[in-house]
Symmetry: C2
Subunit: 168 residues, 2 copies
DNA sequence: ATAATCTTTCAGAAAATTTTGAAAGTTCAG
DNA sequence: CTGAACTTTCAAAATTTTCTGAAAGATTAT
């Protein structure tokens, strides 16, 4: 298989995975393209490679920068802007997890915590069960959150070398 | 706040969260409805509560059963089918994680492993960097996967009580 | 200042996803 | 067997999301 062919396949696959997880396909594809591009790419290069419009490119590159996994690079003597992706996958993954938690999970959890303040008029049992379900979700989210924060602190060696042995 | 109002809010929030994570809004809402319903619900009850069609209800309930987080319940002497959600959030979360891994992540990883077999024609450096990126992704996926398998084995107490202390 | 080059915005168009509802299918009591 | 009660399917419609491209906005060289 040729390198360019493999890159193309990688980009397509990354796009599919992104879509399934609620990420814009183009955003995922641009990220993939930058991940496998040794040198920073300009907007026009991204447009050409992925066959997408300037507007689409611009918006999704900005989004990737907002997420903190792509950076703008300026070359001296060139008016164009270039973009480069962080190649450290562990760092990228942690960043994505943290961002999704902050943007998508936390607002929901805040909303949930409002819901436990219920008039006890209705049958005790129903209210109790509802509050219990919400509480379980909060508890799980809290544990997962702490787990993730823990992960961020671990380095790769720690993770594979130690944690996995603890739990057999 | 009234109980029914709180349930409604919960359902809406769950739908939003689902959407953001690539889950059909209705599927998430049905799941939420069943989570906060003490007794099993019939198709008609779900349709009425969420104001959705029979077809939509049927398809999404089936999907939830495929995921293993909702079960069909038959009441003796009743032709209707009823549905109930597993209320153990930890179990549900583990199930969802395992299913998404199996359905969405693993196929991509399989595809990725095909991509490392590249003609070394092109400049060594480019090929090397590409293979390195793919390898990093595989490695991360592998670690995460093992981490999740580990999680599934932990019970809640273990998780909060021990793991979090290990990592301060 | 102004022209050239590049970036950003966003309304409308296109594409993808979701939903409906009616017809077909199934099951079971009588 | 027949029909009532319920479930399933899926083509077409509705909705949501994404994308385009041209105009407006920046920025810099001359």
């Amino acid at each position: 298989m040729k390198l360019d062919e493999a890159k193309q396949q990688f980009i397509l696959n990354w796009g599919v995975l992104g879509t399934q997880w609620g990420i814009n396909r183009t955003m995922a594809q641009i990220h993939a393209l930058l991940l496998v591009s040794p040198a920073p790419l300009s907007t026009d290069e991204i447009m050409a490679q992925l066959q997408i419009s300037r507007g689409n490119t611009n918006m999704n590159v900005r989004e990737l920068m907002d997420w903190g996994i792509v950076e703008k690079v300026l070359k001296p003597g060139d008016r164009k802007e270039f973009f480069v992706a962080d190649k450290d996958i562990w760092k990228v993954a942690m960043r994505i997890i943290k961002e999704r938690k902050r943007r998508e999970v936390e607002p929901i959890l805040n909303a949930l915590s409002q819901l436990k303040d219920i008039d006890a008029e209705k049958g005790d049992k129903d209210v109790k069960q509802f509050i219990d379900t919400i509480s379980q979700i909060q508890k799980f989210a809290d544990q997962a959150s702490k787990g993730v924060d823990g992960l961020v602190k671990m380095d790769e060696h720690w993770f594979t070398g130690t944690l996995l042995k603890i739990f057999k």
